[in-house]
Structures are given as C-alpha cells and as structure tokens.
C-alpha cells in the first residue's frame, strides 16, 4: 500500500517535470520577454541590463533549472502587467476559484447521483424521461450560453441574484470566503450551477448506466433471492457498486472543473484564477500563464493520485491485489 502510494507519487513528479518544460518553453517561444517589460524608447544598453538582471542571458538549461527550482517553491516570477509576484496574485485569486469549483462539484455530485439513481430505478416514469432530456441539454449547451441565460433570467428579468462578482467576502487568514455572507452565497449560486451543470449531467448519465448494469448482475439477483428488502438491495448493494466509477469520474472531473472555470469566471466576472488567466492572455503576461498552467496541472496530478488511493479504500479487491503486487 505504501509502496503503491510512493510509486504513484513518483509518477506524479515525472508528469509535473514534463509540464514544467512546457511552461518554461512558453517564455522562449512567445517572443522576447524583455520587450514585454520595457517601454519602446528604452535604450539597447538598458535592455541588456534588464536581460542580465532577469538572468535571461544564461544558457537555456541553466534558466530551466532555475525556473523549475523556483516553481517548486511556488515562486513564479513577477507579472509583467501587475508588477507583483505571480504567486501573490494566484494566492489572492485561488480561494475564489476553489470555492466555486467545490460548490459546483458538490452540486453536480448531489443532483447527479440523485437523478441518476432515480432514473435508473424508475426507468419508465415521466420524470426519469425528463431527466434524460435535461441531461442532453446540459451536455450539449456550451457553458457560456448557460451562464448568460441564467443571468438573463435570474439577474436581469427577475432580479433575484447578482449578475457578477463574488459579493461580500470575509477574510480568514490569507483565505477569503464568500460562504459566510448572504450576498456571497447568493453570488455563488449561478456560477456554481453554470460550472457544475455539465458535470452533473455527466454524473447522472454515468450513475444511471452503471446502476442499470449493476442491477443486472448475479449478486443482485442473488440478493433478491435471499429476500432482502428492495431498499437494501438498491441503496446498500447496488449503489455502492455503482459509486466506484463515479468516484473516478467525479474526481478527475474536479480538475477540469477548475480548468474550465475560466469560462464561467469570465461570464460572471468571478475574481478567480481563471479570470486572472484570461486577462493574462490578453496582455501576453507569460509568467501568469505559465504559473497557471503549472498550478492547474499540479491540481490535476494531485487529484489523480488521491483518486487512485481512494479506489483502494472503496474496493477491497484492489486493496489485496495492490498489496500482492508490491
């Protein structure tokens, strides 16, 4: 078990190294960074001085090792646009993105599993068919359109919810949260739904398909032959077996929720990392872009690792094969 975890962790570090190379190469291929920093009328000598002070005249491998070493300590250099350390900027924005992503995922899991279980157990009811139809819409409508439609309905027409921003936030140390104020919670509703809708439909369809599959298995038939109650069979035996693939997908999707929050954050002007990234792209602010890339892949890799470990917790078969293999 420990060896398995260690092996997976090593693989994760390998992935991060590869991402680091890509992030670093952005600096080399997206034009001369010095041009981004200095103004047009800076003299050549001054440019050279800037170049030297940033270490840009060193050989490429030296620069890479320096970049990677700094990145490992969460030092991503200084933003061209804001003239502030990138790590400070990201840390300021991260709570907003994480809160949004977590709320969206909880929304997606709760409703996805409920709707999925319902539409598997009551396959032929009108409500189950409605869920199926809604899930098609959720899967095919682009995120920004859903966001704009929600804004039009609940912010513009009905005026119930704010159309942009995070509302009032409360500071808890370096973390800022919108969960403790009414306006913060209200502001969270629409972005969470917009961001979570795709995941919700995905989870719903997955739960439905898996549940139907599990209900056909021999051990469910045998559980029925043992006279267990329908409730025990559906929610004790079938649901637990259904949840294994759901955990994987939901876990892996959490990474893409964070990555795709770029669009939702833009639509709702949500002050998170995604919005920061979009602004950085507009201003060719490469340190922010590279740092964002590294951060998102770090989150992805970490989630993968956690899902792998969670798997072995849920499924006893995996636990012992893992134990045997190592």
């Amino acid at each position: 078990m420990l060896a398995f975890t260690l092996r997976r962790a090593l693989q994760a570090i390998g992935v991060m190294f590869a991402v680091g190379i890509i992030a670093f190469s952005m600096f080399r291929f997206a034009g001369d960074p010095v041009n981004q920093i200095v103004s047009i009328d800076t003299s050549a000598a001054e440019r050279e001085a800037v170049r030297k002070s940033l270490g840009l005249d060193d050989p490429v491998p030296v620069q890479f090792v320096r970049y990677f070493g700094d990145a490992a300590q969460f030092k991503f250099g200084v933003s061209y646009q804001f003239r502030q350390p990138v790590s400070t900027l990201l840390m300021e924005r991260m709570p907003a993105t994480l809160e949004l992503a977590i709320c969206a995922t909880i929304f997606a899991m709760v409703f996805g599993i409920l709707m999925g279980v319902y539409s598997a157990l009551k396959r032929d009811t009108a409500l189950a068919k409605l869920f199926q139809a809604v899930s098609l819409i959720g899967i095919s409508l682009p995120t920004f359109l859903i966001g704009i439609l929600l804004i039009y309905l609940f912010a513009v027409t009905l005026g119930w919810l704010p159309s942009f921003g995070r509302g009032e936030v409360v500071k808890l140390g370096w973390w800022t949260t919108g969960l403790l104020t009414l306006s913060g919670l209200k502001a969270l509703i629409m972005p969470s739904i917009t961001l979570g809708l795709f995941q919700m439909t995905l989870i719903m369809r997955l739960v439905r398909a898996e549940m139907l599959e599990v209900l056909r298995t021999d051990y469910i038939r045998f559980a029925r032959a043992r006279g267990l109650t329908t409730r025990a069979i559906h929610f004790g035996h079938a649901l637990k077996n259904t949840l294994i693939p759901v955990i994987t997908v939901a876990g892996l999707q959490f990474g893409s929720v964070i990555a795709f929050s770029i669009i939702t954050e833009t639509v709702f002007q949500w002050p998170g990392m995604g919005l920061l990234f979009v602004q950085a792209v507009q201003n060719v602010d490469i340190p922010i872009m590279a740092a964002y890339l590294l951060m998102v892949s770090l989150i992805f890799v970490t989630i993968n690792l956690v899902v792998d470990i969670l798997y072995t917790v849920v499924d006893p078969r995996l636990r012992s094969t893992v134990g045997r293999a190592t």
């Binding site: 051990y219 045998f222 029925r224 043992r226 006279g227 077996n241 849920v314 006893p316």
Partner: protein, 328 residues
Amino acid sequence: MTEPVLSVRNLKVEFASRRGTLRAIDDVSFDIAKGEVLGVVGESGAGKSVTGLSVIGLIDPPGRIAGGEIRLAGLRIDNLPPEEIRRIRGKRIGMIFQDPLTSLNPLYRVGDQIVETIRTHLNLSETAARRRAIDLLAEVGIPAPEKRIDGYPHEFSGGMRQRVVIALAICAEPELIIADEPTTALDVSVQAQIISLIKRLGRDHGTAVMLVTHDMGVIAETSDRVAVMYAGRVAEIGPVQDVVRNPLHPYAKGLMGAIPTLAGDDKRLVQIPGSMPRLSAIPRGCSFNPRCAFVFDRCRVERPEPLPRGTQSVACHLYDSVPAESAA
C-alpha cells in the same frame, strides 16, 4: 400422504417479445415432499431454470406467470404481492445459483452478507446473527469460520464461495432449496463435495430440494425423483432409479443413452439427432416429434398429456393405447 412442501400445477410462463408471446413453460406440474430431492434435468433452454425462478417469484418482465398455481406447504405463492413473496424468499425458500464467483457482492465481507440476510428474516441481534453466521459457515464446511467470516468474496476459492452461497441459502432454515445448476461452474472434485453437502443438508434439516441441472450423473447420485424437461414441458417424471434404468419417453431414453458408463464397454454413446426447437418455433403436436425415432402420425397433430405408468408418469402417445378422435 402428507401435503407436499412444493406443489406446482399446470404452470405456464410466458415472455412477451417483439415477435409475439413465447411460452417458456407450458403446463408443468410436479410435487416435492419434505426431505425429498427432485432433480430437474434437460437441455439448455428446456425451461429448468425458469421453473425454479418462477417458484421463488423472480421472473422478471417481460416474463410472467401466465397460468397454473404454485403452492408452498399449501399456501398459494404465485400470486402474492411483491412484499409478501419477498418475505418468503430467503426465509422459506432458499436459492443457490450457478456461478458462485458472481453470486456474492464483491464489496461486502461474506459475514456481513450472511448477517444481513439472517437479520432480514429472523429477529436476532447483531452478535447473535454473527454467531449464527459462524455456525452456518462451519456447517457448510468452511475451515476456521470465525476467521473467514471477515473475508471478502475474492479471498475464497470457487468451491468455498459456493459453500458461502449455500450458507446464505439455508441461513433462515428454509423448507425448500432451489439449486440452479449449483455445480456447473465448479471443477469435478469440488462438484462431488458440493453435491454431498446439499444432500446432507437436505437430510439433516428435512429440507425439500429442487435440483436443476443438465448433468444426469449429478441427478442419479443425489435425487430421489427426477423430472425430465423438454421444450418447456415435463416429458417424464418418476423415481430416479426407475427413470434411469427404464426410461419410457424416447427423449429420456436418448438422455440415458448419452451417459457414459464406467464399465468400459466401448459402445459409442447414443446421440439424439437434431436440437431442441426454439421457443418461437415449437412444432405442433408433441414438441419432440421431429427428433423422435418412434414418431407416428398422431405425434404431429396432438400434444401428449402426462400418463401414469407404474411409478412413472410420461407424456408420450406410445403409452396411450386409446386412439384419439383427432388422430386422423
């Protein structure tokens, strides 16, 4: 004679399909007495398993019981509401399925599955149910049951898992056990152990057993009586030694001819030509007539009804001396 534990009368089971209704079980009747083992034998698709499933009330749509009645110790059970038949399943009728590898939920410890079943049917505390589960595992021959009870199904071999499945089937002392091909998925040496276990349990507890199999050897070894099924009907039923030594129905004769003997005579095994008809294309008259060596005109027109013949009962026109009017 006392009331049989299980009494099936004129059972009909139909499956609705796109091309009309298929009749999987047609007019099947049999009884099983207390402590008796009835073997049900036949080719794949003869309706053996469907008969077992309809007794325990597990025929799923599009299938349905279309006629006849099933009585458990006098109580009619084929038309009970789902909740009441659910209470009977596992408590008064235990079932053992073919594949022990897939019969147990892989995510739960075997002990939890047994305790869950016990507590569904008997009013026992968690600890009492667990003690009973250990006793049951010991009874079905699992070594060190107090340790193994906390194992997961994948930690058991196929034969051991089938023992767990049997323990689950008998955990509420049922009056009837339906064993649907309990040994088919096991290797031969384990088969013999499982068969003798089922036999022993039936004897010790006075449980009636309906043993569904396509293995005549298993039937000959275990059963008191045997029912030979063909295309959803009972072709012949009778005490096992009579049916094995002196089969009456041409199909039963064919089946017995297909058992290799250990005597070492190198006679070729007799083969029944052709194969069983599909449910959608059951021939008129006797469903066995296209494959029967003794076929005559009446067989192609009129369906034979079961006729008593000594200790046996056979559905074949060969044994009916009275010519029917429709025979022309």
